[in-house]
Amino acid sequence: MITLSEVLETNNMIQHENLDVRTITLGINLMDCMTDDLDRLNENIYSKITRLAKDLVSVGEEISLEYGIPIVNKRISVTPIGIVGSPACRSPEDFVTIAKTLDRAAAKVGVNFIGGYSALVMKDMTSSDRMLMESIPEALAETENVCSSISVGSTRAGINMDAVRMMGDIIIRTAEATRDRDSIGCAKLVVFCNPADDNPFMAGAFHGVVEGDAVINVGVSGPGVVKTAVEKVKGENFEVLCETIKRTAFKVTRIGQLVGHEAARRLGIPFGILDLSLAPTPAVGDSIADILQGMGLERVGAPGTTAALAILNDQVKKGGVMASSYVGGLSGAFIPVSEDRSMAEAAEIGALTLEKLEAMTCVCSVGLDMIAVPGSTSAATISGIIADEMAIGMVNQKTTAVRLIPVIGKEAGDHAEFGGLLGSAPIMPVNTYRCDGFVDRGGRIPAPIHSFKN
């Protein structure tokens, strides 16, 4: 029989340490919507999403009520639209109509984000992929809930530097298209290396082509729970620290496993994976930086930060893997600057730099995330930063991503406000030495030697 102290421990995590299920994400295959008639395609997409997802929000609320665990977001991911739109779209404007359809469908079923306005161009771009990429600034400026991700590299394919160069321009154009809202369009745009087909987290979620018709993927969270646990073992050695994180991660993950299975059962849709990622929010105490500081760093960004993050990431996986039948997605620790209050504070006072963040991405998921940079940053420099991050992912056989926000009209030291879970952040300085001669070469960086395993 469950004891009173166990019940109080669980409820204390929920009430005082921000334990929650971050997202139930319904992945929907849109391949069967494809047709060469654009109007018909949009109708097919709208009706399929609104049919399959009609109960997603109410089921999420039901589970939340019955188990007493907050389920913060209910979301949808779809088959990359670069593929779905290929027979019907003749121009970037045609793709924008699909973005608007996705937005309408998301609003109809009550989810706050829909991901999959995406293209997989790790090796090369089809003309359809290119048109979708060209449409991104307008698509993200004219929709509220649509998220876009472009995968430009992988360990098997190398890095498509033509796409990397193009994305530098597209990120700047997206920033300009939403300059009245601190360039928030870029907060809904991710560039990936080695993307995950089953990632439930936004902005990078899409329903991979290896997936079935529909799937429920769940992202669990709980940085506040881990932080409290870490603070209780202050001064203890690394064995004790690691065991503490592992045990805590196990408990947090079990909640996600329960919610995932329950949501799948009630919706009649197969359960896919649980994503173990620790995802912060701007709420006080719901911070990855606080965990690292709880391990003994004065500020995140201090020497030792990369090692501390490596410990956290590894122990979360070790505890989480045993707690769930299927683990997938990104599964690690996120380090988004604007979404993590203590991370943003460290950036503000100069303790945390862009270069240190890049180093940190070598040992965690995912990458340079929600970082506000000067609006005057050149497209070539953005491409150079993307190339560096993609190289880390390609060589280390892991997912990496870039979600930079060049805030038009603001410079280093200014502040950007994105609101809600997206938070706020100081504009971080960027190395201004030029890299045009490198990123303008064109072509593809070959796959690394260790990708040839056959």
């Binding site: 469950i2 009173l4 019940v7 109080l8 669980t10 409820n11 019955e66 007493g68 665990i69 408990k251």
Partner: protein
């Protein structure tokens, strides 16, 4: 059997348990176990109850306990037992 964990916390006053038990009796809910701690004028109580005889939806149970909670000046929560089983039992 549908096991639900009901937790109550707040200021300890006379008659709290009686009022909660009356609510359960009136709604066909069987109490399987009760444990509590008190001190400094506060009470934390947990009941394991069988809700298979309860006719309403889970939301009705939550709303009903909210009303009892307001009456006795405590917070009362109901949660399916599975969330605790999942977290604390392998």
């Amino acid at each position: 059997m549908e096991k639900t964990i009901v937790t109550l916390s707040g200021k300890d006053t006379v008659g709290i348990i009686a009022k909660v038990c009356t609510f359960f009796a009136e709604n066909g809910i069987n109490i399987l176990d009760i444990s509590q701690t008190t001190g400094d004028g506060r009470i934390d109580m947990m009941m394991v109850v069988d809700t298979s005889g309860f006719k309403g939806r889970f939301k009705d149970l939550v709303d009903g306990l909210d009303r009892v909670g307001e009456d006795v000046g405590c917070t009362i929560k109901a949660q399916h037992e599975a969330i605790f089983d999942m977290m604390h039992r392998i």
